[in-house]
């Protein structure tokens, strides 16, 4: 997988920097990193579905909501420990993903997106009613106790950083290997031309459903970890905007690239904070308008990347890497198609 020494060097540097990050940075920055790591898991999930299998989905937020609510119910009402609640939430997400994926057997492209959009609202409606019944009031969420083992409670930002790092790294390795396996290649075949994939012997319905199931399981994992991390679950968090933000992450990062989703997730998560920082530096005051600017930045990122850099940040990275790889020559090697 890593044929060139420079690639190993890059990986080693990245790992070292990521591991040492808490030593140099404060709690605020680590908090942002933790949010990014949760987003990374969700973004990888939607990238497997949309980037690899080519199934446009606006249901990511509802899958995350399923994961978060499952966790809240199991941890808060039934007092389950996290090592039961998290896998159970993933299973719940996978089951819902399977159901939402069923229409994909009939529709393609934009029609599927609209169907998942409708599913999103149906799921959120059910959860809204549930929250109104279970929560202290209709608008207040369900609180989630911090994950604990043997009396040790995970509450500090630094502890969370390493825990989420392990989870994100596991998801990253799992997805990288999955993408290279028969399953990943079957997905790419379905994305590129489903009829051709079927002719080549790919069981299209089965792999489409598998993509939905795995994607939803990862989204539910992100939702579950997010529930533990923020310690409160409200249905208002899981809007259509969130689903679009996750779509934005993979557009910005690079469709059909696991590593790209990491870039995209970090980029989109940090973008609002970067905008705020930039506006704080300006001499005049903006008031609540800043929220609008933060959102507009995400919309602008979607449009900008789709128009100017459709393959996302990962393509920019690839260009830079290829430049150094081929230096002093100017031409890049011709890569076999599908090697992403």
């Amino acid at each position: 997988m890593l044929p060139e020494p420079y690639q190993r060097a890059v990986i080693a540097i990245v790992v070292a920097v990521v591991l040492c990050l808490p030593v140099f940075s404060g709690d605020y920055f680590l908090h942002l990193m933790n949010l990014s790591l949760i987003a990374v898991i969700g973004a990888i999930g939607i990238n497997l579905l949309t980037g690899y299998c080519g199934q446009l989905s606006l249901g990511q937020a509802s899958f995350m909501a399923i994961g978060a609510f499952s966790t809240a119910i199991l941890a808060q009402r039934y007092g389950m420990p996290f090592f039961v609640a998290i896998p159970a939430s993933c299973c719940a997400g996978a089951a819902v993903g399977f159901l939402v994926g069923l229409p994909a057997l009939r529709f393609r492209g934009i029609y599927l997106a609209i169907t998942t959009l409708a599913m999103h609202y149906a799921i959120i409606y059910v959860l809204t009613n549930y929250q109104a019944i279970v929560g202290p009031s209709a608008s207040a969420g369900i609180t989630v106790p911090p994950p604990s083992i043997e009396g040790f409670k995970l509450t500090s930002e630094r502890g969370w950083y390493y825990a989420l790092l392990i989870a994100a790294a596991a998801v990253l390795m799992f997805s990288l290997n999955l993408a290279r396996s028969y399953i990943g290649r079957a997905w790419v075949a379905i994305r590129d031309r489903d009829i051709a994939a079927e002719t080549a012997g790919v069981n299209v319905p089965r792999y489409k459903l598998l993509a939905f199931t795995i994607s939803a399981a990862l989204a539910a994992l992100a939702g579950s970890l997010g529930a533990y991390f923020t310690t409160v679950v409200t249905v208002e968090e899981y809007t259509l905007e969130l689903a679009i933000i996750y779509l934005a992450m993979i557009i910005v990062g690079g469709m059909g690239s696991v590593v790209g989703s990491v870039f995209g997730a970090v980029f989109i998560t940090l973008l609002p904070f970067a905008v705020q920082r930039a506006f704080d530096a300006l001499p005049w005051h903006f008031g609540t308008g800043i929220f609008g600017v933060q959102e507009a930045a995400i919309g602008a990122a979607i449009i900008g990347f789709l128009l100017l850099e459709p393959d996302g940040l990962i393509e920019i990275y690839r260009r830079i890497a290829t430049y150094f790889e081929r230096w002093p020559f100017r031409y890049r090697e011709i890569k076999p198609s599908g090697a992403r």
């Binding site: 492209g109 609209i114 609202y121 149906a122 609008g292 600017v293 449009i303 128009l307």
Partner: protein
């Protein structure tokens, strides 16, 4: 009776929204996810133009508002086409749909930045035109909504059926390449499509704003319009009108009879039913390509 009037008035708003989505879809096979945002921004522009000089709407300021909103929305449609959509010709249509999602986010943010998310209403035609014995009433705006909508659909039907440009439009929608080879100016056609669509969206937004308060959250009506368009069939104007009425009737009756929270979800339940039963809608062309 009052129920029927309300459904007709709300239905005409949805039908106008659906008409815009249908026009864009017919011309370029792109589904516009920014339609609700375009409608509400149009309504905000109308409001700002109307209340530019004073705190009450006079005949003059109403006239100014209409002119400003109409010109701005028609121009904005052309700008959207040339700035964004033209660059996406030849790319998969879902890419263009995602660009409209990006546009939707920016427009919604614009309401927050420019109008500070202020909740505004457009007080026109609130006076009762006719009072029923049971306490219900028909206001001017109900009648205006229905008439405007009918006029807009009539104008569109005449445009498509009778004018030379309308025939070229239909040709371009059917087969862009062949149409282009027969000297049809595709850029002009698509720019007109966007212009008319954004204009009708703004009109729908103003009608919506005259009945209920406007806020960034009202952009959700775009999804009702999308549902209406899908119910009727994405490439059928007649379907848009009937779909709009159906969605309005279902939403309104649910809000009245069952619960208002369920009513917000009703368009999407209709959507699911339609998608599983007749994905091409009531009057749409059966598109084999969208089915596996």
């Amino acid at each position: 009776m009052e129920l029927l009037v309300s459904i007709l008035a709300l239905g005409s708003t949805y039908a106008l929204l659906a008409a815009g989505i249908v026009i864009i879809y017919k011309a370029s096979r792109v589904i516009n996810f920014a339609h609700g945002e375009l409608a509400i921004v149009g309504a905000y522009v109308f409001h700002s133009a109307g209340f530019l000089t004073g705190t009450t709407l006079t005949a003059l300021s109403l006239f100014t508002a209409i002119v400003v909103a109409a010109t701005a929305s028609a121009l904005f449609g052309v700008v959207i086409y040339f700035a964004l959509m033209r660059r996406l010709l030849g790319r998969p249509t879902f890419v263009a749909a995602m660009v409209t999602i990006g546009l939707a986010i920016i427009l919604k943010a614009a309401i927050v930045v420019i109008w500070n998310s202020r909740s505004v209403g457009i007080p026109i035609g609130r006076q009762a035109l006719y009072n029923f014995a049971g306490g219900g009433r028909i206001s001017w705006i109900d009648v205006i909504s229905v008439l405007t909508c009918a006029a807009a659909f009539a104008a569109l039907a005449i445009f498509f059926q009778l004018t030379r440009l309308g025939r070229q439009f239909r040709g371009a929608a059917e087969n862009p390449l062949l149409a282009a080879q027969r000297q049809v100016n595709i850029n002009l056609i698509l720019a007109i499509a966007w212009s008319v669509a954004v204009f009708s969206a703004a009109l729908a937004g103003v009608l919506f704003g005259s009945r209920s308060m406007l806020s960034p959250q009202s952009t959700i009506i775009g999804l009702s319009g999308l549902t209406a368009a899908l119910v009727g069939g994405l490439d059928s104007l007649r379907g848009a009108a009937i779909g709009g009425l159906l969605v309005a009737a279902a939403t309104y009756l649910t809000a009245r009879l069952i619960s208002p929270t369920l009513a917000e979800t009703v368009p999407f339940l209709i959507l699911l039913i339609v998608m599983s039963w007749r994905p091409w809608g009531l009057f749409g062309t059966v598109e084999e390509i969208n089915r596996v």
